[in-house]
Symmetry: D2
Subunit: 332 residues, 4 copies
């Protein structure tokens, strides 16, 4: 049984905090980037994608983040507004920072890579003074994402958002989203991931991400031990993903749930995690059983990886319900 206590009397369901970026997705697939000629522009960034996905399913979503004071920044805000998200917590950088870019390369459905532009990015310049306690009081849940912990002042802004969320009983989701290129050392990474995870209710990550967080431990932990460690802090739910082998969800009451995947035509692998998270969170916030929320997450991922973008590819509730009914499940 899930023991997440979502407050009911709040104007927003979910506020995500962190990265707002731009994806430049290759228009020439099955081709190395040296030979591609053109790119299509989409809103990107893991917490942005998750919030967009959740908004697409019907949750009332807000965002706390920072965008560049240029065409890229304005493009992002405009897209969030088109998706009916509340952007009152999105501030505009005034220091000349740029929007982070992710150029995608699709050599084959299983050989995808990303070329990142992450120097002087606006999203990491979010400051504590730009995190509003009154705004966080308005939401039933907060979503944080690990990349926002990678540098000051964004790092401190996230810890302050966590503080306010705990103070006002917003449920906190932590999507680990570990991107090594953003960090200076893996030890520093582990320190801040752990400090943040201690304050979260639901932690979602890959086995490799949890391993990174446990690097100071002398012995390797099993999935169950890892989950148990976080139940000793504030976690109620821990999701550990094992790539194509599926994922396993642990709850504080001792249960665990194994998730399957759906058959789909893979165009690229980007966006699988974000779409999973958006639909899983949607399920939990609607009081569903863990298994059903997990299935909804898998279905959303199956849809997104068959499409060209991440953010624009997020399915509506109707699309997702139809997919769950008709798609073929695969044993993992």
């Amino acid at each position: 049984m899930v023991n997440l206590n979502f407050k009911t009397d709040r104007p927003l369901d979910l506020i995500a905090v962190g990265r707002l970026a731009v994806d430049l997705n290759t228009e020439q697939i099955n081709c190395p980037m040296e030979e591609t000629r053109s790119f299509t522009k989409y809103v990107g960034g893991s917490p942005a994608n998750i919030a967009i996905g959740a908004a697409q399913l019907g949750l009332k979503c807000g965002f706390i983040g920072k965008v560049s004071d240029d065409q890229m920044g304005r493009f992002i805000v405009r897209f969030l507004e088109e998706k009916k998200m509340d952007t009152s917590g999105v501030v505009v950088d005034k220091t000349g920072a740029v929007t982070g870019l992710a150029f995608t390369e699709i050599k084959s459905p299983n050989d995808c890579s990303i070329l990142m532009y992450r120097d002087n990015v606006a999203d990491l310049k979010l400051e504590t003074s730009e995190v509003s306690e009154d705004y966080i009081k308005k939401t039933r849940a907060l979503l944080i994402s690990g990349t926002a912990l990678a540098a000051s002042p964004s790092r401190e802004a996230v810890f302050l958002a966590l503080e306010y969320a705990r103070k006002h009983d917003a449920v906190v989701f932590f999507d680990l989203d570990y991107r090594p290129y953003t960090w200076t050392s893996d030890k520093e990474t582990a320190i801040y991931y752990n400090l943040a995870a201690e304050k979260c209710d639901v932690i979602i990550g890959t086995r490799e991400e949890f391993d990174m967080m446990e690097q100071f431990e002398k012995e390797k932990k099993t999935d169950r031990e890892t989950a148990g460690k976080w139940f000793g802090h504030h976690a109620e739910i821990v999701v550990i993903k094992h790539g194509s082998k599926g994922s396993i969800t642990y709850t504080k009451d001792g249960h665990s749930y194994t998730g399957g995947i759906f058959r789909t035509k893979v165009l690229k692998t980007f966006g699988a995690g974000d779409s999973y998270a958006s639909a899983f969170i949607y399920g939990l916030m609607n009081g569903w059983e863990i298994s059903r929320a997990m299935e909804y997450g898998s279905a959303s991922a199956a849809i997104v990886i068959s499409r060209h973008s991440c953010s624009e590819a997020m399915p509506t509730k109707a699309e997702l319900d139809k997919f769950v009914k008709t798609a073929e499940r695969i044993d993992t």
Copy 2:
């Protein structure tokens, strides 16, 4: 009653972590620095002073810190060894960092100031890889000091030391030691002070330091409310200092204790807090009642502020016992 559970079977009583520095104390007192001509060199830095003071009283003390690879760094290590401290946790910087300097100016006993050299200092370059779990396992208590949280990688090293101390049941003392010039913003300061304080057993600071930590709260807290907040985390004892009006100590069981001060001939005010902490910790680690430990702290402070240096001025147990017996108490 004090509920600190000091393990008994460990080779070290206290390991301090953080700043090792050099004080350059003016030889011309009651004179502005523009006119002074010469300086005497002493080991300095708040956690260094506290550990030296505790060692002087008979505790077995170690240190985790980093010194410059030059004459200043070697001078520091040598002095700690003369004081019978264990320096196996002190590493030597290899990046060209310097030892932090504090030039003192004594215009009058009550008009003292410090000119700091804190750019590119070795102490803030302590890394997580230089914090040994096995070393921390050997100590009954750990002392951290706020300045070591001011910058990476020292900041992460302190959080790792805290993690190990909690894992191995070492009692953790936190001397707030807030020096604004070391920090980039007071909001950043508060975030990390709070994250660290949540993991400590004994927190010692001035009212102003606690106020700084509470800057995100909408309402100002009383001393008792401040202490209560930390008892909600891991603290057992909270000491709040009010300058010349004395200090007040709160314990988790609801009691509070007011400390007095001794009459002394003040040469300068530097070192009062460090000497207080060293003797107070000594008392607690010997199982004394709070009031007696506080009185011992005050006596040590009274001695140190009458002398020229901080570190070399730390009294022995014999000196301190004699002072407590003979010195005059002042009502505050």
Copy 3:
């Protein structure tokens, strides 16, 4: 009469030094970037464009520069090689630098702007040790571009290239190419532009660029006075551009030449200066009269601004000759 003494016995005609970058040109024209959806990728950067343009006309061109160790860097080198340029002086960055990007926005033919990504770019990381005296000995002329002076170590690499060029009697062209966003202050800019210009034979820039270089002078100079100043150093030719009003070329012997422009269908204004320089240099290196070289420059510019890219749009000799014969001249 032009008094440039091009050595005749060398394997290369022109080596350019400086920026190798990528242009991402909008595919939706007459539209703000907030609304554009896709971009086409081209090689860019002023000295790259000039060298490509000169190679396209038949000069044997080399390049001294630095590219990122990723798909963007490899794309650039490949393109230079397709244009038959010698890339033995192009080194690959190993520090994680990126390729500079220029996103273009074409709101109307006369309202074009560029969104730059210039943080941590490979081109500014060129080092003195990567500038080969033996390589510069092989060329009849060297082209430097102001942006490469914007930061260390590229700045020093350019000064060293200048030193070698002077030592080995290569004629030095300086295309001022002042881009304020790359520099920290306009005073710093002027200092280094002046130090470099003192060592050059041909200086090409806009009136605004020359004004920037004269900011320490108490009185504003006329074009003739500006040219005269540089003739007092090493210059033989100074070209001062006045935008749509055409340009004026001064030679050390006291003559001046006014250049006209051609009627063309303007798609965007980018690339006008680079194409002008490439054809003008081509003319000078073939011993043409100043006026003819200027006309060739104008013709090349007229062609490039009617096309979508800069680098790929550079005309061949056949195209250019045909254009000069058939196009309509406009009085300025």
Copy 4:
């Protein structure tokens, strides 16, 4: 014959530009710094010492430099004023920079070393906007010192001062004063030393300093070749120092002069070069023959290395004249 054309109608004889610092000279000599206990504070920095030495001999000296906004900075300005120097060109930093420190260690008269504090120093923050053309117009000569070229914005400020000096016919002295610890690479060093030296009338340095400047040459130069290279630019006099083997001065007319040294009781070697330069410049500015100016330089050096400080040790004209008459010359 010396062909330096000193203007006669100017209120100042010499303006030095660059480093104003503090020396902390050990009070315990023949002792490693790990064991010394105290330091005396003096004004220091090569161009400061030279200007102070010249002022002490009677030249009217000014200074262009930047000091910290603290007791150290005020101490420096006060001392210059006591020495009757014009300090109207000395500006006070407002960014929190510190005064550079040099702690001296004298293990023996021939085993001296310096521990430098050069992070975030005020002297390197001098900006072009703080260099006044009107001020430089007032002086007969300008002295620059290599260390001021080590970083921006001081580097550009020196180039601007050079520009103004050349424009207003002030004779320019360049004391190479190469301190490796201040620079990031020796190639960068050589680039800027060469760019500056090309604009100077008198260049004074050690053989090692000239070697550093010639690192891009394929063959090692003799002293005469080195001097000849600079005579091809603007130099009239080149002084090449060979340590205890004395120095040799070349003039553009083809002559050279060998300098001897005086017997003295060496306390430490610091300050020899600065005192030499101050008296040598004094001689040149008074129209003395090269040999006499060199002898005066050697005498000043002999006096200063027998004394505890550099700046305060600079002899008066009376002291120096007496020393020259009575001291014993040594063959080198």
